[in-house]
Subunit: 242 residues, 2 copies
DNA sequence: CGTTGGGTTGATCGGTATCAAATAGCGTGG
DNA sequence: CCACGCTATTTGATACCGATCAACCCAACG
């Protein structure tokens, strides 16, 4: 088993899906091009028609939509091992943006190579399909978060979800982890203003729940955090039988 | 071409995807069981592990999630021709509920039959995969709607989206169409209370935009409606090349 | 050091929730 | 056909969450 740049993807798929070793090896063998993106650089824009899709090797990205009046909604936060634009395999045109939050390394794989692999190994197709279904499951929970929870619960939920996903790819050590968003971006993820985000963060800090500073979250009180987040991770379908 | 109960599905796929006639015929030939559900009857519940999935033949359904404190968020509204639980093909456990809004006729197809068909005709698999990706695209726009738009724009957007989708399956005639939700349910779709939903509907009526009465929407002023909805239908990917 | 992009705080406004109560419409049994 | 009961709808009064507007602060960096 050689070390590859798509190791985080493989790691996630290994524990999450029922992928066979053969399938994983076939995935590792996919030809890719590594490209680096700077913080805030746009990877794909609404309307683009890409012919390849990417695996996040390192760094964080977000998908977002901007509406007429300029307001922006962040739809999802993506971490190493994610395939944030896999849907383009079957939907020709991007209906949202994909942006690098931090400096990122992305491995691009041609749609044609993926299609060929899927045709020769249908079970790899199932793995990819499942991954897009997982994506949709996360969107569903995001709708609930934005639609039904008060802002402080909303923030706690986003934080817990992100931490769970980072854990699956081995990116959480101790009580702190990376969440390289500005307060403005956190607000765009929650559907509130940056001013209000700031006030919620202050309250959480004063209540001894967590600290957020320069893109790092540090959990101070796990119990209180859980209580706020009302997090039930079943929607992450993190074992093959779920 | 015989008339089948999954005609609405076929119609939608024919115009929306690049499905070949052979593929469509294969779909029509899938064995199914027709079952009827009453208004408000639950079809699948959070936690279920179904072994078949359904096509809506007639009637309306919603997918929803209920959180700890009892609040409910409607995630999507489904109409004839939709496959509202196709994700169970690869995600074993339901992470939300599927409920009949009105009396419904559903055609259930065994997962095994679908899997067999996909293995023998991979392009049918692509059609189904694409359909779940479309589902996710609608979720994304739903997040934007709930997260960024004011309540009256939100309602206008839901109405326009539903109308566009109903049009694709030939269920809009003139300026009126069915939307068999109670005001409470409309509120749950928008993330507002039923009281506020009522006030918004009154305002839209007084402004001469639309009337909503007993599950029917009647558009009074198309221009004002468009203005409110800020609707850009690209996310519905309604032609094969999008 | 000056500039600049976050971050922080205060004051005020407005949209939506909440609570309470009245009304209307529909299905059912008498 | 009518009375009843249920549910959905409607309206009013009040409270509060989060938006908005306006400063100011601070740390990083050229």
């Amino acid at each position: 088993m050689t070390d590859t740049t798509i190791a985080a993807l493989i790691q996630r798929l290994r524990t999450t899906t029922g992928a066979s070793d053969d399938d994983l090896r076939a995935l590792e063998a996919l030809p890719y091009t590594l490209r680096n993106y700077r913080e805030n650089q746009s990877i794909l824009r609404d309307g683009d028609r890409p012919s390849e899709c990417c695996v996040i090797v390192d760094g964080f990205c977000v998908r977002s939509k901007t509406i007429e009046d300029g307001k922006r909604q962040i739809l999802s936060i993506h971490i190493p091992g994610d395939l944030p634009d896999l849907q383009n395999l079957h939907l020709a045109t991007m209906d949202h943006d994909l942006v690098a939050l931090s400096n990122c390394a992305l491995a691009f794989i041609a749609h044609s190579a993926i299609r060929d692999l899927i045709r020769s190994r249908p079970t790899v197709g199932d793995i990819f399909w499942r991954d897009t279904l997982l994506d949709a499951a996360v969107f569903r929970e995001w709708i609930v978060n934005v639609g039904q929870r008060a802002a402080h619960n909303r923030l706690a939920h986003i934080i817990v979800e992100l931490r769970e996903r980072l854990r699956m790819v081995g990116r959480v050590t101790g009580d702190a982890f990376a969440m390289p968003l500005t307060q403005e971006q956190i607000g765009e993820a929650m559907g509130v203003t940056s001013v209000h985000t700031n006030r919620i963060l202050r309250q959480l800090r004063l209540d001894g729940v967590l600290e957020f500073h320069r893109g790092t979250v540090k959990i101070l009180n796990e119990h209180k955090l859980q209580e706020l987040a009302q997090f039930d991770g079943r929607y992450l379908h993190s074992s093959p039988s779920t």
